[in-house]
Symmetry: C2
Subunit: 364 residues, 2 copies
């Protein structure tokens, strides 16, 4: 009788637990997802971003939501991340959206277009300037939920074997340039090449290309471009603040609990901040090392910049005529960009320029 | 017999559940915390930051970890947040660390010192430049675990009733200025006042003070300074990228599970990015409205800026002599700042300056 009573009580407890259990199971299910990327593992900034996000997601869920991050080519080629996520080959992909401009140039607003937004302006446009709803609607047509997950800051203008004194010097130049902005290079007579990060060095070394840009001092030094091209130009007018993104397959996204959706987004925001901070912290010493090793730092002249700018406005006008979604976003985006720049030159740039003046007087 | 068998089976299930339950209970306990802030509710950027973090923490934990955010003065005065967290009056506080420079000027590195880091450089110093371990060690002595949770970007130089043509015009000027940099103002003959955001307008209106600075166009317009002072100067050389922080009482922090620690930190990082983006998105239109309403925008002259800079180096030397921890951090920080500025003027500022040139040609 004692035993029967115990069992009966236990039975009630079990029933009570059984009612509570589904809620817990639903909010923290065990998941093992795969994230393919466009980056070689050696780039601990770009590849480090999704790795950082995955680590934080595991911590926030007591290891219940686990994500394995793969380098470019391990399971999917570097420039096919969008397809792999769209097809459901993987649940997640970390990539630069402008790689997919061939599908539709609208992709590029999720990353960077020539003479575009700097890192802070891209975040502002995305979160408060109308960017997020427009881009989410666009990505939905490709079966992707896109989440900002990193930025490189303003990039360098790349590595050249010969000096670029005027825009005429670009004519006939075979150059690796990221994504959509190759159309601008082509308009002034250059020959753009869309090559994945890990494949640029051999192409430059063999002379298949004459020039190449990737990101900035820290990454470019790792990829070794300084060994084969002496002139290092700035700024990268096509990448003032390129954003990299976490792609989530729409079905995978819809399968997540509200808590896991929030955890994934928060981890991407944290990884974003982490990546920008890492680039900003590592680039100064890398640039010093490059210059000490013989790299010749050169600014694009004002006239060269203006030539590229003029070409870019023509390219955008052409794409606006061909792609209605591109035009709709471009018109809104362009006004936002100009308003931001008028404000940034007041407090932000006047402060930065004074500080550059101070620090350059102290140091060389 | 059937019934006994059912109960026995249920009993086994209950035992299995009882083993699993504590792990779930431990990782997601029910918590209700309070967060006091230094901000009036009307400032939906600064006050909005901890509110945003609280909302995301609730979402990430299925409402198990709930944080109630209070405006300045609701439970703790605006400038006593550090004390309230240290004493355990509240578990959390959201504030600007330079308000507590009277306890030790080292607090200011967690926010901003004159001619300091911009927003990105502050993040870089904190995460990868040695800032975090040094500042965590310092805050521990005050019983606080500090987490970056927002930034305003470069601020404006404030509102003045008369023009500031040379540094001589600052002499005798009673000015509300945030935190530690009042010492720099005092050194050139000004009379600094440390007044909470919500109390500045009445002081300026009554003539208790002659000038005041808060943040930038969006906040300053809300606080109404333009109604009582016509000249709006830039840049705020004492706040190139002031960080605001989430303070966690050390006991409260230590009581959190690893998952909740990660969730709190990730939510603060997300709120940080949110706040900077909101300021950057809202400021341009606010500045246009202010100028349309008669505000006169003025830059501090180069000579005036250099005068303030000279005064600031003297103030830092004095504080270094008095406070060993300040000196240790200042020496490391100063080298980091100068290296950052030499890099930022290459890609980042040359891009921003070209874009300002383009946008100002298009618009007025």
């Amino acid at each position: 009788m004692q035993r029967r009573k115990f069992l009966k009580t236990a039975g009630i407890a079990a029933a009570a637990t059984a009612v509570a259990a589904p809620a817990i199971a639903q909010s923290m299910p065990e998941l093992k997802w795969r994230c393919t990327t466009s980056w070689p593992k050696s780039l601990d900034t770009l590849f480090g971003g999704p790795e950082y996000a995955a680590k934080r997601i595991a911590e926030m869920t007591d290891n219940k939501f686990q994500i394995r991050v793969f380098a470019a080519g391990e399971i999917v080629p570097a420039l096919q991340v969008a397809d792999a996520v769209q097809n459901g080959t993987v649940e997640l992909g970390h990539t630069a959206s402008y790689y997919y401009f061939g599908k539709d140039p609208t992709f590029a607003f999720d990353c960077s277009i020539s003479f575009g937004l700097n890192e802070r302006q891209q975040n502002a446009w995305y979160e408060f300037g109308g960017g997020k709803p427009m881009m989410r609607e666009f990505f939905k047509t490709f079966g992707i939920h896109n989440i900002p997950c990193g930025n490189t800051g303003a990039q360098m203008g790349g590595w050249f074997r010969k000096e670029i004194k005027t825009i005429e010097d670009v004519k006939g130049l075979k150059m690796r340039i990221g994504g959509f902005s190759g159309q601008v290079l082509a308009r002034v007579g250059g020959v753009p090449q869309n090559i994945a990060g890990g494949d640029i060095y051999p192409a430059l070394e063999k002379g298949t290309i004459d020039a190449a840009e990737w990101v900035g001092p820290y990454d470019d030094e790792k990829l070794g471009f300084n060994k084969v091209a002496p002139f290092y130009y700035y700024p990268g007018w096509w990448e003032g603040g390129p954003q990299v993104s976490m792609y989530v397959g729409l079905k995978a996204w819809d399968s997540l609990t509200p808590a896991y959706k929030a955890i994934l987004e928060a981890a991407c925001a944290e990884a974003h901040k982490w990546m920008v901070a890492k680039y900003d912290a590592e680039n100064p010493a890398a640039l010093r090392r490059l210059i000490a090793g013989g790299t010749k730092l050169r600014p694009f002249s004002r006239a060269t910049m203006e030539g590229f700018y003029k070409a870019s406005t023509e390219v955008f006008a052409e794409n606006s005529a061909k792609y209605p979604t591109f035009k709709k976003i471009y018109d809104q985006w362009l006004n936002f960009r100009d308003e931001e720049n008028l404000w940034f030159r007041v407090a932000e740039s006047s402060f930065d320029n004074f500080m550059s003046h101070i620090s350059s007087q102290k140091k060389t």
